[in-house]
């Protein structure tokens, strides 16, 4: 029973984290057809920015609860700045190029950003563990669990709904959906595709940065944290169906529970859990669980 509780909680917790780091990736792919490897570097930047900002914050002796507001603000600012710099500075010159080439462009960006992060912050790890301990823990069915981790679950749900709402209900979001359906016709109808692209990329980047910001208090912020995230996020997105937001949620839940179950029931196979799910899903549904059927062009 305790084990069951643990699997349910751990799976949910990990799924929420996966969703946060993966949803920006699927959004950017869905709209712009760019499979963004630099997403991992954005995540790392988020973690570093959070560590630095909160370091200054705590050094100033400000009240602890405000830290969460600071995290929100820096995620937004850093995400928008980094997203726009990358999109305006590099990507816009390459729209319309081969999808695979764009993967390599973002890979090159990833390498550059990784070293840039190292040059700015050095190689030693940073810590901001205060927010993680701030709310203490609760006992759920005899298992102590950090309240902070439960808040990440809540955050993931809120962010997911907000994103869905923006896409489906706002004017800008619906224009974005139109661009996804057909870029050329949308442009002909007077939609400013350039602006849509810049906005989407910034939002996707903000998501990656938020992932890093909320993770920073749990980890040692060190070089290389971005690499680990990329492949996980890819797996989640591919399981759910590239470009689908509900797909990212389902993919995250699949992958999250697969990992939690293997940790508790068969820890030796933890390493394969996510790839195995990905391979099985793709073997059965080649385009992922939530992919739209695409027409065959003659």
């Amino acid at each position: 029973m305790l084990k069951f509780t643990a699997i349910m909680l751990d799976g949910m917790n990990y799924a929420a984290w996966l969703f946060l780091v993966a949803v920006g990736l699927t959004l950017i792919y869905g709209v712009m057809r760019i499979l963004n490897i630099a997403h991992g570097a954005f995540y790392a930047i988020g973690a570093y920015v959070c560590a630095s900002a909160l370091g200054v914050f705590y050094a100033a002796g400000l009240p602890g609860a405000l830290a969460f507001a600071v995290m929100g603000v820096v995620a937004l600012i850093a995400g928008v700045i980094v997203g726009l710099v990358v999109e305006r500075g590099v990507l816009r010159f390459l729209y319309g190029r081969d999808e695979v080439l764009m993967v390599l462009v973002t890979y090159a960006l990833f390498l550059i950003l990784e070293d840039a992060v190292k040059l700015i912050w050095g190689v030693e790890s940073y810590f901001v563990y205060q927010p993680y301990a701030y709310f203490g823990f609760v006992e759920i069915g005899g298992l102590p669990y950090q309240v902070y981790d439960l808040m990440i679950v809540a955050l993931a749900i809120v962010m997911g709904i907000a994103l869905w709402f923006w896409l489906e209900r706002s004017r800008m979001g619906r224009m974005t959906t139109a661009v996804v359906a057909d870029r050329e016709i949308s442009a002909a109808m007077g939609i400013n595709v350039t602006r849509i692209f810049a906005t989407t990329f910034a939002i996707g980047t903000v998501f990656a940065v938020i992932g890093g910001v909320v993770t920073a208090p749990k980890i040692a912020v060190t070089p290389g944290i971005g690499v680990e995230v990329i492949i996980l996020a890819f797996a989640v997105v591919v399981i759910g169906g590239l470009g689908s937001i509900p797909g990212a949620a389902i993919g995250a839940i699949f992958a999250g529970y697969a990992r939690a179950m293997s940790v508790h029931l068969a820890p030796a196979y933890e390493l394969f859990a996510i790839y195995a799910v990905m391979a099985v899903v793709l073997a059965i549904r080649p385009h992922g669980l939530f992919a739209r059927a695409s027409g065959r062009k003659i």
Partner: protein, 313 residues
């Protein structure tokens, strides 16, 4: 997509052969770099072949690792050190893997092919990491190889290894050129252009894709085997996605204009990498990234377009 014409292929391969002969007289560290780059170049060639059919393999490292581990396990564990047996085994193992996976993967296209091949290669990575008897992430070492019973002396061993690698690379390029001018090879571009029309014409796109996957796996297995012989060490990083990403990068940027383009392209990449490391040990990844971006922005058709352009001019 670039129009490709493979009638000039023998000439290019002859140029490669001449370059490799010149390469023999390079300083030993640089020649070693060239030697290992040739092994990797064969894998990049395999990736480039698949790209002609619109298939981007982000997990080609799988066959590279299989070739390397086949050589390694036979030499280190079974005590077979004859290079010819070892390399045949490497090609055989990876080709069989290519056939099995090809049956599954030839149904997939575009990013899904890329992702599924990546997933499979990462599963192999996981298996190798779990395999404590194969040294897990540390990998294991491979004893010096022999040639029909003759084990070269330490003094001439590097020369013999280089010559073996160079000769086999040229042979592999020739064989690939032969495949490209065959029916199955020529139809690759048609698969990328328009599968349905190809089907209406009575050809099977799946079969074409299957064959190119198998050919690429054989080439990559040879590359892996040669690398294992050269460095005397194999580890699971060979099948990590970062390694495969390097092959894709070279295949894409070297251009698909000739079989020798990826082979030379891989050497250039390694050269940039090693000089970046020497120049800026703390920021070499950044230099590598900047070079990649520069090539993508300035040479949209790949490095080979420099040669094509000159020819047209």
């Amino acid at each position: 997509m670039m129009k490709t014409d493979f009638r000039r292929e023998p000439l290019y391969i002859a140029i490669l052969a001449v370059l490799l002969i010149v390469g023999f007289f390079l300083p030993s560290w640089l020649r070693f770099l060239l030697q290992t780059a040739l092994a990797g170049g064969l894998v990049a060639l395999g990736v480039a072949l698949q790209m002609r059919a619109g298939l981007v393999n982000f997990g080609q490292g799988l066959y590279y690792a299989l070739g390397g581990y086949a050589v390694g396990m036979l030499a280190a564990q079974a005590g077979i050190t004859d290079i010819f047996i070892l390399l045949i085994a490497a090609v055989l193992v990876s080709t069989v893997a290519g056939i099995v996976l090809g049956l599954l993967l030839s149904r997939y296209r575009e990013i899904f092919y890329a992702m599924l091949s990546l997933a499979v290669s990462m599963i192999l990575y996981g298996l190798l990491v779990k395999a404590a008897w194969l040294g897990s992430t540390d990998g294991f070492n491979i004893p010096p190889v022999s040639y029909l019973g003759w084990t070269p002396d330490r003094a001439v061993r590097p020369d013999i290894y280089y010559v073996t690698t160079a000769v086999l690379t040229v042979i592999a390029c020739l064989a690939t050129a032969r495949y490209l001018t065959s029916g199955a090879g020529m139809l690759c571009e048609a698969v990328a252009e328009n599968e349905i029309r190809l089907e209406y014409l009575g050809a099977s796109p799946r079969k074409v894709a299957f064959i190119v996957i198998v050919v690429a796996s054989a080439l990559s297995g040879l590359g892996g085997g040669l690398l294992a012989m050269s460095t005397g060490h194999v580890d699971p990083l060979m099948t990590n996605w970062t390694t495969s990403g390097g092959f894709v990068f070279v295949a894409l940027l070297a251009g698909r204009g000739s079989t020798i383009a990826p082979v030379i392209g891989f050497f250039l990449l390694e050269l940039v990498r090693t000089y970046a490391l020497d120049l800026a040990p703390n920021a070499w990844q950044m230099i590598l990234g900047l070079v990649m971006l520069a090539v993508i922005l300035l040479l949209p058709e790949g490095l080979w377009s420099l040669i094509e352009r000159r020819r047209k001019a």
